[in-house]
C-alpha cells in the first residue's frame, strides 16, 4: 500500500480580512483511512473543508494531493484532481432519477449525436449500489421519493464513484434517525475497501469513535491535536474540543 498520503495539509493558515479562521493546520489523510475533523461551532471545520474542496484558497501553507502540490482556484479544479465533496445539503436534483444524479455533469453518451446512454448509466448505477450495499428501490427512482438515509447513500455513492483520491463528507448523518444512520455508517466503512481517503466532519463523538482511524480536533481555528482513535477516549477529545484541561500535542 502506498504510504504517500492521499491528502497532505501543511501549515495551512486562512484569514478573512482581520479574522483568522484557520491557524497553522497540518494533517495527513491516507488511502483506506477515515479521518474525523471535530470541533465546536465556529472551530473552522467548514473552512477547512472548503479549502480542500478548492472554494477558498489558503492564505499560506501547502496542500498536496498524492504527494503533488496543488493550487485550486475553484471547486471544479479539485474535482479534476480526484476530490469529491458530499455537502450537508447533498446537492441532489430532487426530480431527477438516481442514475441521472449519479452522472450529473458527467452524463454517458453513445453514438455520433451525443445521445444519452441511459441504459449504460442505469447499469453502472445499479452495480455501484450493489457494491456499496445501498438499498434503494431502483436506479430509476426519483430522488424526492427516497428517504433521508437513502438520499445520503446516493450522495455518498456519487462522491465515491467519481473520487480518485479523497472523499470529504460534511455531517453525513446529521439529519438522519438511528436506523438510517446505521445504514449510512456501514456504507462509509465499506468505502475504506476502495482505497479512498475519507475525511469526515462530524459533531457526533459516538460516530467518530465508531468510524474513524484518526481524529483531528480544532478549537477556534487552532489545531489542538491529532489522535489515533484507538489510543484515545471521549473524555480526552471532549476536553480538547472545549479547552478545559488543555493538553499538549
Amino acid at each position: 500500500m502506498n504510504t504517500t498520503p492521499a491528502l497532505s495539509l501543511r501549515n495551512i493558515h486562512k484569514s478573512f480580512g482581520g479574522i483568522v479562521a484557520v491557524e497553522d493546520l497540518s494533517l495527513d489523510v491516507r488511502r483506506g483511512e477515515i479521518v474525523a475533523l471535530v470541533g465546536d461551532n465556529g472551530a473552522g471545520k467548514s473552512t477547512v473543508v472548503k479549502i480542500i474542496a478548492g472554494m477558498h484558497q489558503p492564505s499560506s501553507g501547502e496542500i498536496r494531493l498524492a504527494g503533488e502540490p496543488v493550487h485550486f482556484t475553484d471547486a471544479s479544479q479539485s474535482q479534476a484532481k480526484g476530490v469529491q465533496v458530499v455537502y450537508q445539503d447533498l446537492a441532489l436534483a430532487e426530480s431527477q432519477p438516481v442514475y441521472m444524479n449519479l452522472f450529473l455533469a458527467r452524463e454517458k453518451t453513445k453514438g455520433w449525436f451525443g445521445k444519452l446512454d441511459r441504459a449504460g448509466m442505469i447499469a453502472e448505477t445499479e452495480e455501484l449500489m450493489r457494491e456499496l450495499n445501498v438499498r434503494i428501490p431502483s436506479a430509476k427512482s426519483t430522488i424526492h421519493k427516497l428517504s433521508g438515509g437513502q438520499r445520503q447513500a446516493v450522495a455518498i455513492a456519487r462522491a465515491t464513484h467519481w473520487a480518485t483520491n479523497l472523499v470529504l463528507m460534511d455531517e453525513p448523518t446529521a439529519a438522519l434517525g438511528v436506523t438510517e444512520t446505521c445504514k449510512v455508517e456501514d456504507i462509509i466503512t465499506g468505502l475504506k475497501a476502495r482505497s479512498l481517503a475519507i475525511l469526515i466532519v462530524s459533531h457526533s463523538l459516538d460516530q467518530v469513535f465508531r468510524l474513524s482511524d484518526h481524529i483531528c480536533v480544532l478549537r477556534r481555528g487552532k489545531q489542538i491535536g491529532v489522535r489515533q482513535t484507538k489510543q484515545t477516549d471521549k473524555n480526552e477529545i471532549v476536553s480538547m474540543i472545549t479547552g478545559l484541561k488543555a493538553s499538549s500535542r
Partner: protein
C-alpha cells in the same frame, strides 16, 4: 386506502406521475367530446383538423422553447414582442433582398434578444421574470417604431410556401414544422446532455454548479433558445398571413405558458416535457376551434375555455415536487 394509493396498484399506468399524462387524457377527452357533439358540424373533417394544427404551429414552436426556459428555472415574458420584431424585420428585408436574408435576420434578431436577456440574467444575476418583463415593454416599443405602425406585406412565394402557406406532398408546411419542432425539441430535451443539464439547473442550481455544470452559460443558452423559437414563430406567422404587423404575437404569451404548464412543465423548473407542451398547444387550439363551431357566443367561449384550462392545471400541478 386513498384513491391515489389504489390507483398506484394498477400496473404500469399507476406508476406514472399524473402531471405527465393529464394533458394526453385531457386532449383525448376533449377531442372525443367535440367529435360527438359536432359530428356533422365540420369538426372531424381533415381540413378542419389540419387547420387546428396549422393555427397552433407558431404557439407550439414557442411553447417548446418555453419548456426549456421554464425547466431551467427561468421565464421569458418578452417572446410576444420578439415575434413581431422578427416578422417585421424579415418582411422589410424581403422587400429588397432574398428571403433567406430575411429569415436569417429574423432569427438573428431573436437570438440577439435572447443574448441580451440571458446576459442580464446569467451574469448580472437579475431575475429573469423582471428582466424579460422590462424587455417585453421595450421591444413592444421597438416593434411599433420599426415601421411606424405600418404593416408590411410579403410577396415572396418561396418564403410563404416554406413558412406557412404551402405544402409538401400534400402535407401543409406548418404541419411539417410542428412535427419537426416537436421531434427535434423532444430529442434535445430527453436525449442530450444539454437537456439533462437544463433540468438539473432548474431543479437545483447549487447542485448543478457543485457538480461542475456551467450554470450561467446554460441559462444564457436557454434564453437564446427561447427567443429564437419566438423569432421562428414570427416567421411562421409571416408566412401564414403574408404580412407583418406590430401586434403579431402580442396575445400569445399566456397561451404559450398555459400550453407548457398544462402539458406538464412546472413553472418553478426541474421537470417538464416537450411533447406535453406540443399536445398542450394543440389542446388549446382544438378548444378554440370546437367552441366556435359549437356556435357559442364569444363570452361563453371564453368562460368554458378558462374553466377547462383551470381544471387541467389543477390536475397537472397537484403532485408535490419536493419531499414533504
Amino acid at each position: 386506502m386513498s384513491v391515489r394509493s389504489t390507483f398506484r396498484r394498477i400496473p404500469v399506468v399507476g406508476q406514472l406521475e399524473p402531471s405527465t399524462y393529464v394533458v394526453y387524457v385531457g386532449f383525448l377527452l376533449i377531442f372525443a367530446a367535440f367529435a360527438v357533439l359536432l359530428r356533422d358540424q365540420g369538426f372531424l373533417t381533415v381540413s378542419n383538423l389540419l387547420n387546428i394544427v396549422q393555427e397552433t404551429t407558431p404557439v407550439t414552436v414557442m411553447a417548446i422553447g418555453m419548456v426549456f426556459v421554464l425547466s431551467a428555472g427561468e421565464i421569458d415574458l418578452s417572446i410576444g414582442s420578439v415575434v413581431a420584431i422578427a416578422a417585421l424585420l424579415a418582411a422589410v428585408l424581403m422587400r429588397a433582398h432574398n428571403w433567406t436574408l430575411g429569415v436569417a435576420a429574423g432569427l438573428g434578431a431573436g437570438a440577439l434578444v435572447g443574448l441580451i436577456n440571458g446576459a442580464l440574467v446569467a451574469y448580472a444575476r437579475l431575475p429573469s421574470f423582471l428582466v424579460t418583463l422590462a424587455t417585453m415593454g421595450l421591444l413592444a416599443g421597438v416593434a411599433r417604431w420599426m415601421t411606424n405602425l405600418q404593416s408590411v406585406p410579403v410577396i415572396d412565394t418561396t418564403f410563404t410556401s416554406l413558412f406557412g402557406s404551402g405544402s409538401l406532398f400534400g402535407i401543409p408546411s406548418l404541419v411539417i414544422w410542428t412535427a419537426l419542432a416537436g421531434s427535434l425539441g423532444h430529442y434535445v430535451y430527453r436525449e442530450t446532455r444539454f437537456g439533462a443539464r437544463v433540468l438539473a439547473t432548474g431543479d437545483n442550481p447549487h447542485a448543478a454548479r457543485a457538480a461542475g455544470i456551467k450554470v450561467d452559460r446554460l441559462r444564457l443558452k436557454v434564453l437564446i433558445l427561447g427567443s429564437t423559437c419566438a423569432a421562428l414563430a414570427g416567421l411562421l406567422y409571416l408566412g401564414r398571413i403574408q404580412g407583418a404587423r406590430y401586434t403579431l404575437g402580442e396575445t400569445d404569451l399566456l397561451t404559450v405558458i398555459a400550453a407548457a404548464v398544462v402539458g406538464g412543465t412546472r413553472l418553478d423548473g426541474g421537470t417538464g416535457t416537450v411533447l406535453g407542451g406540443l399536445i398542450g398547444s394543440l389542446l388549446m387550439g382544438m378548444l378554440n376551434n370546437g367552441l366556435i363551431l359549437m356556435g357559442l357566443a364569444v363570452s361563453e367561449q371564453m368562460i368554458v375555455r378558462g374553466f377547462i384550462i383551470l381544471v387541467a392545471i389543477a390536475l397537472t400541478l397537484r403532485e408535490p415536487h419536493r419531499a414533504p
